[in-house]
């Protein structure tokens, strides 16, 4: 760990991590949350802040393949790890990911603010459990609030993307 004091007396941290497949080094203030780092320092605005308390799932990203609420994690905890945001969710060959396609074709997108988090959470589940049942999907996505869809089309979109 490499930590030093900046002129302002704030603790500065040299963060090394991978962001959407690219090695990244940044000097950051150690009090920075992961979502501040993603949206502010990296300028990746696809990750949304819905509550700031880990209840809504809109800010979900993958850290070493696991879905986490980026509002609840400090940026320094990313050190040595691999971050994937919605911008890094891609299909084979770099096109749309099967989840992105199925969210579009099933009509699982309305206002869209929860969509990046839902796709990230679903991707984490399908990586871990490629044969996830409807009940598994329902349980996994209880941490992602959506106020528009009534969830039906979200669940069918994840089922459609399963195994692709």
């Amino acid at each position: 760990m490499s930590e030093s004091k900046s002129n302002a007396g704030l603790s500065v941290f040299a963060l090394k991590c991978a962001v959407n497949g690219e090695r990244t080094e940044r000097e950051i203030c150690s009090s920075r949350s992961l979502i501040e780092f993603i949206r502010g320092d990296l300028g990746l605005k696809g990750t949304k802040e819905g509550c700031g308390e880990g209840e809504c799932g809109a800010c979900m990203v993958l850290v070493d393949g696991k879905a986490v609420n980026s509002c609840l994690m400090m940026a320094v905890q990313l050190h040595g790890k691999e971050l994937v945001t919605i911008e890094g969710i891609k299909g084979k060959g770099g096109g749309l990911h099967p989840l992105q396609k199925s969210f579009m074709t099933e009509g699982a997108v309305q206002c869209g603010f929860c969509t990046p988090g839902l796709i990230v959470a679903s991707e984490a589940l399908l990586r871990r459990n490629p044969g996830a049942t409807l009940e598994d999907i329902k349980l996994e996505l209880t941490g992602n609030l959506c106020r528009c869809t009534g969830y039906e089309k979200v669940l069918s979109a994840v089922e459609k993307a399963r195994g692709k």
């Binding site: 302002a8 501040e36 300028g43 990746l44 605005k45 696809g46 990750t47 949304k48 802040e49 819905g50 509550c51 700031g52 308390e53 209840e55 809504c56 809109a58 945001t85 919605i86 911008e87 749309l96 989840l99 992105q100 969210f103 579009m104 074709t105 009509g107 997108v109 309305q110 206002c111 869209g112 603010f113 929860c114 969509t115 990046p116 796709i119 999907i137 329902k138 349980l139 996505l141 209880t142 941490g143 992602n144 609030l145 959506c146 106020r147 528009c148 869809t149 009534g150 969830y151 039906e152 089309k153 979200v154 669940l155």
Partner: protein, 763 residues
Amino acid sequence: MEKLSYVGKSLPRKDALIKVTGAAQYADDREFAGLLHAAAVRSPRPRIKILSISDTAARRVPGYVTLVTYKDIKGVNKWPVVLQDYPFLPEKEARFAGETVALVVAGTARAARKAAALVEVKYKELPFLEDPLKALEKGALKIYGKDNIFSSFVIKRGSVDEAFKKAAFTVEGEFSTNYQVHAYLETQGAIALPEAGGGMTVHSTTQCPFYVLDAVAAALGIPYHKVKILQTVTGGGFGGKEDVPALVASHAALCAAKTGRPVKLIYGRKEDFQSMSKRHPGWARVAYAADKNGKLTACRVKYVLDGGAYSTLSPIVLWRGTVHAAGPYKIANVDIKTYAAATNKVPCGAFRGFGQPQVCFAQESLIDELAEKVGMDPVQFRLRNILEPGDKTVTGQKLNSSCGLKEIIQTVRKRSGWDKKIGDRESGIGNQGDIVTGIGFSVTYYGVGLGAKGRYLDRAGALVNIYKDSSVGVNVGNTEMGQGALTVLAQIAAETLNAPYESVRVEEVDSSKVPDSGPTVASRTTLMSGNAIIEAATPIRERIFKTACDMLISMGAGASQKMTAHGGLFYMGGKTVDFKRVVAECWFRRHKMSEQGWYAAPRTTFKMEDGQGDAYVIYSYSADAAEVEVDLKTGVARVKKIWAAYDVGKIVNPRLAVAQAQGGLLQGMSWALYENLVYKNGIMVNPNFTDYVMATTADKPEYDITFIEKPYAEGPYKAKGMGEVPLIGVAPAVANAIKNACGARVNSVPLLPEKIWNELKKI
């Protein structure tokens, strides 16, 4: 009639790609050079006299820029909503805990929040009102006018007292409903950018850019033509982004005007809970009378809404609730009195259903009670009394042929297996140990558009512009907030112009491109903006069709042949030409390829004095059956399935319509069972998603949705309005199912386990 190319098809959403890739730019995603950040300083107590506001401590925060108070308002310190009692920033008194009393501007959002917490507001606590029913009592503390009443309406028809005296059956009950928080996933926010020459451009997440325009111009004291409102991709609204975004945007604009720099103001979730609008808590006492044959003869309603500290939209919310308070039935004698009361709590306003769900819960619960007294099946009872084309509503409005109430009731009855399930229930079939199952019904109607109370705002504009490359740009004054307006309106434009759907793009609202089109509320966007687009596109269509015909003739089609147009192509006598080539020819001929359209809703005749006359131009209809399980040991209720049928006129996009229905049903179910915002001593106790519980994927019921499309002649391609009607009847259907399952009649929403359990103990 020619076959439709685009209307009536489940075409893909225009905005889906940018949303699934994370590329969509919501308000907080926009960045500008030199951007500053604002944060609100909020009143800590329900009602205070402000003695002083000091930023002495806040100044020490690195990056601190300035404090903004009412003294910085160059315009009039009155937010222009309906009654104009809400100042942009309070001068002497703050009237609810969470009200913005000042703003702080700093270099970063974090610094602004830190500084705002250090601003010292010296105040004296004043006595406050919390209970709307107590607010209406004589001798109550006065916090608004002489009687604490923001607004009051009546509907008077026939002789109610006499009808109750003569009745064979009567029922009466008191019902109440709690708040509902919109919980749009994107919180409120705006960015204001000062322009050279004293203008202001505002990026706002909003349903109503023209309300934002009114407010920003008023707060800054500058003419409208110096203000431009750009709607950002909007992360949910449900009514919660009707009025209040104008307040948020005005605060950002005041900060930008004072500092001369762009200022971003994005709400945190807690302050959004504490200070932004909500569904009004409602209280209703309803009574019905019926004759010996089960025909409704009279209805009496007293209905009270808890308006909160400022009137905002309460008068209009209350009016809609008043008009629909008796339900969609034939009733000759009606006496409805309604009140919106002031309290020192968060101001309530628009929420999907707009004053109807609260009173619908009361009225549809009681219809079940009356059916039981009469000894009729609840569905049979409703069918006996339901409005049909040619019948008159309680306001004396004669319904036209676009009324499928009877058909939707029959559809839900059949699809839900109602008759068999009611029989099974009586014989206890389906019960397992402590888990009992029941089924409940409700039926509702919803006046589309603003109606008589908002008639001066019920108009909309559109700009249709076909470029040389044949791409079509459409600007409207109503907004996309997730419901699919950009898609549905593109379908209507493509259909009218015979343009390929892919070539049409409807943009988010820019207030400088179209005239004030009223708010995006009241399920009015398809109807109003759709008709405005048709009006704009029709003259261009004529030019295109004439040109296409000329081209086909010159290609060798016989002039006596009839031209047909479909899916972006024009056909005649075996020849074909496409939209792109026709548009190029139109430009070559120097035709005008851009037009403005305008649509004003037909007049309504409703009179406020007696509540009689045509209240709305047209109605949409819904029927719901809910199957519910109740655990007799715990009182926990769970909705297993909802069958719903709707008459919302022609369906423009079936997939989007189903999505609206599913979303509305779940939001209604969540309000009915779970959502419980709590105030204690004038302070909101649970302003967060941890303690304010909403339905998740695990609670989702099955949905069965059917559309009965009764064409509305005035509607665009015969459409009416869809957005709100699915939510309204869910709570009473669930409550009636709980009663059916276990005998417990719960009169207050949310239908929490402890309430069900308490009722069970009484049986």
